[in-house]
Each structure stands twice: as C-alpha cells, then as structure tokens.
C-alpha cells in the first residue's frame, strides 16, 4: 500500500514552532483562507475549484427516474466522491480511505440533510417521474482542505446548473432541448459552506491554536479538527468534531463565529463568480437579453 511519506521530525518541529509565533509556512495569517478560484466549464453545472494547490472538480448531471415509494413527491439527489491516485499517490482506487468516508459523510450531512436542494421542486409527476440530480466530485490535486473545497465546488456547481424544462401533458412528459427552451436553475434554498478548523497544541497563553484552510502538511501535523457548516444567514447546518485534541467550549464558539464570518465572504465570492459567468455567457446575445427585458417592462 503506498503511504504518504511521513513528515520528518525537523519539518514537524519547524512548522509547530513557527505556529507558536503565529507564522505559517506559506506566510498566511492563521485564520486566512487561500485564494479561491472558480473556473466554470462550457457546460452548465461544471466547476473547477482551486484552493491553493488543492483542485477539485464538480459536475452535476440530471436524469429522470422513478421516485422512492416512501417519498413520492421528492426528487433524488446524490453526491458521489471518490479519492483517486490522481489527487495523491496515497489514495487507492476502489479502496475508500477514512478521509474518503469523512468527506462523503460530511458533504451528505452539510448539503443533503440540511435540505440545501429543494427535493420537492424536482418532482415532475407525483410517484412516477422525478429528476435525479447527481453531483460527481473529482479530486485532482490534494493540498489540504479537500472537504472545504469540495463543498464549495458542489454548491457552486448546483447553483450554476440548469435543468431542462419539462412539460407535462396528460401521461406524456416532454423534456425540452436546451436549444429549444431556456433551461431553469435548480431551486436551492440556502448555500451551506464547510469550514474546517485544524487544532494545534497550546500557544503561550495556554489556548488551543486553530488554523483555517490547512495545507496537506498542516493536516498531517494537526492534533485535531472540526468542520462547521454554516450558511450566510448564520445558520449552522452541521458540526462534526470527532475526537482529536479536546478543546475548550469557549474556543469552539469562537470558531463557530469565525466560520460564520468567513462563510459570508465565500458566499459573496461564489455569487460574484456566478454573476460574472452569466454575463460572459450572455455577451453574445445581449440584444436578446434586452429584448426580453423590454417585453417584461411592458
């Protein structure tokens, strides 16, 4: 089994000592995120997220299926994640690691169980036809904070995705081609965003140090971690801290508040990027857009 090379003792001491002086190896502030880059593909629902050297792709696809018998009004939504050797040689194909489980579990809790996607809006004909939305997350490069990056990727991709228009007439349903009718965005109720804190030993004041957006090196050395998922309205969607170093409740609360602040920034950033992309897409037929506006005004 290929293993991630262990961090050497010298490296470990260096990183930890530097942290005690509030310095990080890449020169960031303790609580600063790396720059998030969002690159949209040609298709709707395709997003490439870069967070420093971490790179995650998310792609949304939709198909029509039968709903579950116990939930006839609800569409289906699945998130699939797989860590492959492309992200890091330590990951193997077909053998999900613990990190793999953690990521899929927390994404599930953050996005699916918090009802970010309105499942009832995906219903076409009750108990017969619903949309099944699938988010595939691919990890291209691993340099820490895979979870945060993939959450941003999934949320952005969902917001970017357009669902073909469906008309129902009696028994028949028609799925209109994208060329034929302008596809509609999904109904997303809120944007949950994961923020992972990495805990390290105590600083000079005897308080646990916590970092945001850790790199792979920092992740390997941390004493514990906690993921908080918040939306911009200040609602916590889930918290997951299992094990690791025990932390004072006071610090947990500080983390939660900090997460809420950070999420507002990320939320705005995603919104801006989406608008920019929309503008870029519509540049070619701006006249058509104006026409549409004019019509509405009348």
């Amino acid at each position: 089994m290929p293993k991630e090379p262990e961090t050497s003792l010298a490296e470990k001491t260096f990183v930890l000592e530097a942290l005690k002086q509030n310095l990080r190896v890449d020169g960031r502030e303790l609580h600063a995120f790396r720059d998030v880059q969002l690159i949209f593909g040609d298709d709707y629902g395709f997003v490439d997220v870069r967070l420093g050297k971490t790179r995650v792709l998310a792609r949304i696809s939709a198909e029509v299926t039968k709903p579950r018998s116990d939930r006839p009004f609800e569409g289906l939504f699945t998130i699939s994640t797989e860590l492959g050797p492309m992200a890091s040689p330590a990951f193997e194909v077909g053998r999900p690691s613990e990190l793999d489980h953690t990521i899929s579990r927390i994404l599930e809790r953050s996005i699916r169980r918090s009802h970010a996607l309105d499942a009832e809006s995906l219903c076409i004909v009750t108990a017969q036809r619903v949309w099944s939305i699938r988010a595939d997350v691919h990890f291209l490069s691993h340099d820490g904070s895979l979870l945060d990056a993939s959450c941003i990727a999934v949320i952005t991709a969902l917001a970017h995705f357009r669902l073909p228009v469906v008309t129902v007439s009696g028994e028949d349903i028609t799925i209109h081609d994208v060329e034929e009718r302008v596809p509609v965005p999904l109904s997303i109720l809120h944007w949950p965003i994961c923020v992972t804190f990495s805990f390290f030993g105590d600083d000079e004041n005897g308080e646990t140090m916590y970092l945001l957006d850790a790199t792979a090196q920092e992740e390997a050395l941390r004493a514990g971690d906690m993921t908080i998922t918040v939306n911009k309205n200040g609602e916590i969607c889930q918290i997951a801290k299992s094990g690791g170093v025990a932390v004072e409740a006071e610090i947990l609360m500080r983390c939660a508040r900090l997460a809420a602040e950070k999420v507002k920034v990320i939320d705005k950033m995603i919104g801006d990027a989406l608008r920019e992309d929309e503008l870029r897409r519509n540049k070619g037929n701006l006249d058509w857009l104006k026409e549409g506006r004019a019509e509405n005004d009348r």
Binding site: S114, K241, V247, M253
Partner: protein, 250 residues
Amino acid sequence: MEGLRNDGRRWNELRRIHCQLSTSGSSADGSAYVEQGFTKVLCTVTGPAEPGSRQRGRSDGATVVCEVYFAAFSGTDRIKRGRNDKKVQELQTAVQKTFASVILTHLLARSEIAISLHVLSQDGGTLAACINATTLALIDAGIPMADYVCACTAGQPAIGLGGGSGGGDDDEPDPYLDVNYLEESDIPSLTVATVGGGEKVAVVSMESRVRIERLEAMLAVGISGCARVREIMDKEVRRYGKEKLDGTGE
C-alpha cells in the same frame, strides 16, 4: 408549575442513567453496560493485544479499532443493519477517533485495542450512550486513559415549555438536556462529549440546522449534562472498585 417535556422531565433533567462494569465476565478484557432512559448499550473491550494483522501495528502507539452492532430488535421496527450501513460506519468512526486521542496509546506500542459496541435498544442519544459505555469498559479493562470521556445530548425546542420562572417574555426557550427519540426526531439536537471534569470538548456532532446564537446555549447545557454523567459514572466506578477490593480482601 413549570412546563414538562413529553416524558415528564424538566428541561434540564437527565434521564435515568444506569451503568454497570464487568458485565461480560471473563470473555472480554473489559465490559460495561449503560442505560440512558430506554437507550441501552453494551460495550466490550479486548486488548491491548497483538494486532490481528501486521499492517495495523504502529511502532509508536496502540491502534484503536471499533465495531458497532445494531441489534435487529433495537428500534421500534425490526431493521437489520449491515456492516456497511452509513449510520453504523458513522458511529464507528466517531467512537474510534474519540478514544484514539484519549487513550494513552504511546504506552502500548504495537498493540491493538478493540472496542465492540452493541446497541440493544435505541431511544435517542445513541452516540452519547456508546461513548459513555466505551469509557466504562476501557476503565474496566484497565487501559490507561487521560480522563473520563462523558457524552450527553442537548436539543433546542422551537417553543419553550412556558410557565417557568421568567418564561413569559422568553422568546428563546431553554434547550432540552438529554433528548429522547421523539425529541431527537423533532427538534435540532447535538451530541457533545467532554474529557475530564472541565469544559474540554472532545466531540461535537450536530446534524440539524440551528441558529448560531443558539449554539452556545445548547453547548452549555450539553456540557453541564456531561458533568452530571461524569459524576454518575465516577460513582459507579468507585463503587465497583470498592466492591472488588473488599471482595478480595476477605
């Protein structure tokens, strides 16, 4: 007259906790049984022992593995949960990670500690009961730990119980301590586990949406619950220890 919850408790009342050490006799190195209301969990610990496979041995400390079994009869309906069930795996990782950091693993290099948990009856707070049972079983097995890990749940009701002192103008109702199954499926709740008597939090797990302002109150109530759970467990450990000592002394 203060308002009561659906099972007749006040907002800050724990359910009855019954715990027992060394329940499985000689078949395991340590075992414990915990009842929190109608949630009943049995834990057995084997180890420190030689790891089952070479790969698992670590030269700088012990490995902790955990297996959780849900009895088919543990819920209201008979459900068989396989080993790959998401809920089972989630519990497994949570318990495993919690105790991997609390057990003084560096004292037990190249060995393995296997925790096996049986959920016999579920009525809310399964994770909390699992953590408490594991703590007791590890104590029974004599495995060195930093301190007790005690867990408890807290929920945030939408409407207060009313009638309480100063409850009239109270638009933020008191959080419920130690939620049962009905409350758990109804209102947002979190599980919190503390290490030792202070406010050091090892585990927080919440799966429902809640306003950030309410988190503090829920955490505070949960942590106070942990402290009470700790008292109860400590009392039982001391009682059991005394009984053991007296028994061999004669």
